[in-house]
Point group: none
Chain length 199, copies 4
DNA sequence: TATGAATGAGCGTTCATTCAT
DNA sequence: TATGAATGAACGCTCATTCAT
């Protein structure tokens, strides 16, 4: 996967940054090449075409997201704590690596229609971890959730909404960002621990 | 506002659809024209330029979303019920009018920089209703929320995440869409009613 | 020639002004129409097409130039004085009616290739007056010029160069415009009166 | 400056010719490309945009005019002779290289507004030589001119008028071109040598 | 491994003009 | 006398990509 080539990596870095800064529309092979101080042709030595470049970017971001969450959550063995850690680290990743985070969701659908479906499977590693953690919690009697699959996806979606709002700077100017994030996480988590807490 | 011109409306419809299907990047005046079976020049008889066309689309969608939510939620007078209705109708709008819903969020960075700021105010009408409803609920002792502003925004964000996942067809194939939506709404709502329920 | 129609005249005025201010390239039927507060189509009621409009403009300017010079020079009966008057009034016309003056020379060659040759004849009326005046002066022994035709044309050309420099604002900033004009006229005239003066 | 590229040179040649034949308005990147039998895109490999192409053309013409006059006039050391030589070579350049000559004056208002001011300085080299020559002549007592600056500019303007008439083929058909030029030069020169001649 | 030269397709936009009313 | 609707052609320019070296 990592072919250990400096120019290749530089192209990916530049592309990722340009994508984040100026959006998909302004991303062009020429501009990437210019910023990398190489000819546009050179990019084709490492990436078959623009689509492949983008797909590599997505793949890489998805992998990093999974690794990040795993590195934070796997060490935690207690069920509820791991559950919280996954949620927390998902948001953290989005805020710490906005360029990578955005790629996962932003590029669509102009080029994603051509993104090989099987790659999506891999993207689910972190999600599967969340599912498993919920299931474990339920098995251990730490949580009451009827459909872990659905719950996990719902959490995923809600977190994505929260992170997106922040990254897109759509937050109401009267709202403190840090508080918004904390409250939102709290809210998402609370929605699941409720009955447990009550009992 | 509605100048009652069939071609103008057709252009808006086609644009909205193309935007939804292929994304902002592949939206072109020429393609719109071709699909409307008119010359590209004709579009300029109804819209000053591409930006104006897009802004018209956004404005229209934003207005429709507000109207939709208001028409569903305003008739409901009980606080908590109205609160639920707003949430429910927001999601409903997204699912019933996906093309309009997506425009509100999708067009952004490229052309939105030029979208007149004052128009954004109008976009907040539904959001302000949510804030007010939460405040009313708190005043009436129906809900315990410290920061209604933050809460409303957080709900907004989470709902957007949920709707997005569905519209982008990113839902796990093992998950039933209807259930996902119901559970998600339930979850978002529940996160707020918790303490009330408990008491 | 003058069909006495106010809109027709307004179109000519606007065109003349736009031509002068922004050059031929920016002259468009649309813009003329917009400034006249009529539809673009309306222009075609008075002018067959853009070329005809331009040709009308040229014709009119040429006519005005002739009339202007004649009105100034014909009353003067003394040969040399009339000679000077023609020269002087040519320059005066250029400075007083720059918009009309420029049209005569500026529009070329993009649309002039299609300007009917016979119209050029009429343009020569003032020039023919100059030729005749020189010939009269020579006959009367007031001037010594071998080829009045050539002389007249040469004067014409030189004066045009002088007027052009001023109208195009190409004058060296260190040079006073009024002095430049006076000296230039003096110079052109002097070149012909020389031998007379000497004798 | 001369990067020795055949296509680049061909583009310049074609542009220069088209500019001369059809005027600035009808000069288009596409037409140039078509005539050079290359794609329009190719032009952009050698010129950043249309303005740059035009500016290159102007620069080149201005430089050539200066070089031409200098090469003819500098070898001549006697003041009056050099004075005549400058005038003569200016006209000669216009007649020998009409395409280059016209560019200097024709391109103007549309694109010249964006022509870098400092480049104009260089354009004055030949004019400054004329000024200096007049000054030298006056110092040496060979000529009586009160304002060399004004005189030089006036000569410049008159010569331009003469050359323009010829190049624009506006010459009266009854007039022999060669004689027109000779007489005009004679006339311009004579206007200045007058008092000298008389004394 | 890298490039320079070249291209066809497409973009948003403006234009002069036509036609039915 | 006047217009609104419509168009085909053209414009400057950018793009992803190819090919020979």
């Amino acid at each position: 996967m990592s072919e250990e080539n400096p120019l290749r990596d530089q192209i990916l870095d530049i592309s990722r940054h340009m994508l984040f800064e100026d959006g998909y529309t302004s991303l062009s092979m020429r501009k990437i090449a210019k910023q990398a101080n190489v000819s546009a042709t050179s990019i084709y030595l490492y990436f078959e075409n623009k689509d492949h470049l983008l797909h590599t970017l997505i793949e890489e971001s998805v992998e990093d997201l999974s690794l990040f969450i795993e590195s934070k959550a796997l060490p935690v063995t207690e069920n509820i704590e791991r559950f919280k850690k996954i949620i927390e680290s998902y948001v953290d990743f989005g805020l710490q690596y906005p360029e990578k985070y955005e790629i996962i969701y932003k590029v669509r659908p102009e080029s994603m229609a051509r993104y090989p479906k099987e790659k999506f499977r891999k993207a689910r590693r972190a999600y599967e971890l969340l599912v498993k953690t919920i299931e474990d919690s339920v098995s251990a009697g730490d949580m009451e959730v009827e459909k872990p699959l659905v719950a996990a996806y719902s959490i995923w979606a809600q977190l994505h909404g929260v992170v997106s709002v922040v990254l897109n700077k759509r937050l109401d100017s009267r709202i403190d960002q840090k508080q918004f994030i904390e409250d939102s996480i709290e809210h998402v988590v609370q929605g699941f621990l409720v009955r447990t807490t009550v009992s």
